[in-house]
């Protein structure tokens, strides 16, 4: 399929950061923008037409995530807002004096920094679960940390840096059972939030299957544009809004709806319904080829779980050399990837995820993440495998710590 990522002759392997907008999504969105510019809160025909279309989108999306009630789908600006809303909203609504939140050390900053901020302000207590060498959270560890004042568990479905899948369904089932007992004992309910941003197009995101109360989704990770996402909020969840103003989104999120974004999100999900599974298989095969090829280079480590991982991500450590140097070399060859190296982070901190997996600073420095997508071609992988060994060799020759 011809699109922006190939037209320029460049190769885009950074789909975990963002995906190009699918031309079919763009077409639907533009058609909508040309005709239906109305404010869905307006009573006149312009408003009613826009309202009709976004509610149709909401129904279709609710169906995709296994929700019986479209009112459980709240449109947001994306993953960060959804994560913020889930956490801050549940804390705000809680009657517990000093609520306790459990999360993991490898969450996205949208979750981690939000919880750390609440903690710093003295509004919550927090526990950060450690992970194993594959970046996986252990349910038994979680069980031990639940206290009388625990009101929220927030664990990401898939880690964005290494692609490891977390046992969301197992955690969800456990918490559901636990909540039955807690209710009888007069303890506050433990809500379960998952950031499903990296999982959405590859895994089962049926909220009943997962037993989640809250789920964050971001459109631009699956070929919708940036600036649109959603938060699933299970009926009965005590949550307060964090964006305050008008009564949009059933009073849960103020502000005029991003109507073109909602249409695009729904169109992107329609494509997932039809092509998602096939896409995943094809991308997985390409990723396996890439991994096989890269593993021929000496002294490399594939991060993440050997089996429980999404098909699109292969994050490697190239020992003895630094990730940003590899990234810039690849970029000069027209190949776009990302790195968890401190040098590129802006904060000069190595990836908290790689450190949590037990790698040291030096190893984490050598990180490169390849993330494939719908528009990745076999020729892209071939090109990477052609140029990468030379880049690694050259940088290792320059390194005082590589052999």
């Amino acid at each position: 399929m011809e699109n922006k990522t190939t037209q320029s002759g460049r190769i885009y392997l950074d789909c975990s950061a963002t995906t190009p907008t699918d031309p079919r999504v763009m077409k639907k969105m533009c058609e909508f923008m040309e005709k239906d510019f109305g404010n869905p809160s307006s009573v006149h025909a312009f408003g009613r037409e826009a309202r009709g279309k976004i509610e149709e989108a909401r129904r279709s999306i609710a169906e995709f995530i296994g929700s019986d009630d479209p009112m459980e789908v709240i449109f947001t600006s994306g993953g960060t807002e959804s994560d913020n809303m889930a956490i801050v909203g549940v804390v705000k609504a809680s009657k517990v004096k000093k609520p306790h939140i459990i999360t993991s050390v490898i969450e996205h900053k949208a979750v981690l920094s939000t919880i750390e901020d609440l903690e710093k302000r003295g509004l919550v207590e927090a526990t950060y679960l450690k992970v194993d060498g594959y970046g996986k959270v252990n349910l038994e560890d979680l069980k031990k940390e639940i206290k009388y004042n625990t009101i929220l568990v927030s664990i990401m479905y898939v880690n964005n840096e290494i692609g490891t899948v977390q046992p969301i369904r197992e955690i969800g089932k456990y918490l559901e059972k636990l909540n039955d007992q807690r209710e009888r004992g007069g303890f506050p309910k433990v809500y379960f939030h998952t950031d499903a941003v990296q999982a959405f197009q590859y895994l089962n995101v049926n909220v009943k299957h997962l037993h989640v109360d809250l789920m964050s989704v971001s459109g631009h990770k699956f070929y919708a544009p940036k600036g649109i996402g959603l938060l699933f909020i299970k009926k009965g969840t005590h949550i307060e809004k964090i964006q305050i103003g008008g009564g949009q989104e059933f009073g849960k999120r103020a502000g005029t709806e991003n109507t073109p974004g909602i249409i695009a999100l729904s169109a992107a999900i329609d494509i997932l319904k039809k092509e998602g599974e096939k896409d995943g298989e094809r991308i997985g095969k390409l990723k396996d080829k890439l991994v096989k090829g890269i593993e021929k280079i000496e002294n490399v480590t594939l991060t993440g779980h050997p089996k429980d991982r999404i098909p699109s991500v292969a994050s490697f450590l190239f020992h003895g050399i630094e990730g940003e140097a590899i990234l810039i070399n690849l970029d000069l060859d027209g190949i776009a990837v990302s790195t968890g190296s401190a040098c590129s982070s802006g904060s000069l901190e190595a990836s908290h995820v790689l450190l949590a997996c037990g790698y040291d600073h030096e190893q984490a420095q050598g990180n490169i993440r390849f993330s494939l997508g719908r528009f990745t071609q076999e020729s892209d992988i071939k090109k990477v495998l052609e140029v990468l060994p030379g880049i690694v060799d050259r940088l290792r020759e320059m390194s005082p710590i590589a052999n």
Binding site: G320, E324, C343, L348, E362, M398, P400
Partner: protein, 151 residues
């Protein structure tokens, strides 16, 4: 009147945009040194060895020098080589330092600052100034090592 002001506004916006777009490109001098660094390697029978690292991000640089005393009474750096574990800026600044130091007296070489290195390469982003600009430190360390050995 109104039209003119609108146009001038657009022009300045366009200029800003062009400037921003240029800023997204890599510094060509830095890339040239990164792609084809000078004096890579290790002098086997070096007179001085300097190894410095940034503990925060893990960048490491090893610089080896060859020193020769001449009839003018000065000690000259006749050869210098580097090995660097670090990002593109770290490698490029290492290459620049070896260029700057080669042929200089020890006294002259000791005067080379981080700012000299950054200027030579056409500027470094503030964040890279401290983490990726270890080369001048490594040179100083190599000279100190030479002097301590000479005792």
């Amino acid at each position: 009147m109104a039209k003119i002001s609108v146009n001038s506004h657009i022009n300045s916006r366009k200029e800003i945009k062009e400037k921003n777009m240029n800023n997204t490109d890599y510094n060509p001098k830095l890339i040239a040194h990164f792609q084809n660094p000078h004096n890579v390697g290790e002098i086997k029978d070096a007179d001085g060895v300097g190894q410095v690292g940034n503990p925060m991000c893990g960048d490491t640089m090893k610089l080896t020098i060859k020193v020769e005393s001449r009839s003018d009474g000065n000690e000259y750096i006749t050869d210098v080589k580097f090995k660097t574990f670090g990002c593109a800026s770290a490698i490029a600044t290492s290459s620049v330092v070896t260029d700057l130091a080669k042929g200089k007296t020890l006294e002259e070489a000791l005067q080379i600052t981080k700012q000299d290195v950054a200027d030579e390469i056409g500027g470094l982003p503030a964040i890279k100034m401290h983490c990726s600009n270890l080369a001048a430190d490594a040179l100083q360390a190599a000279i100190a090592d030479y002097r301590s050995k000479k005792g």
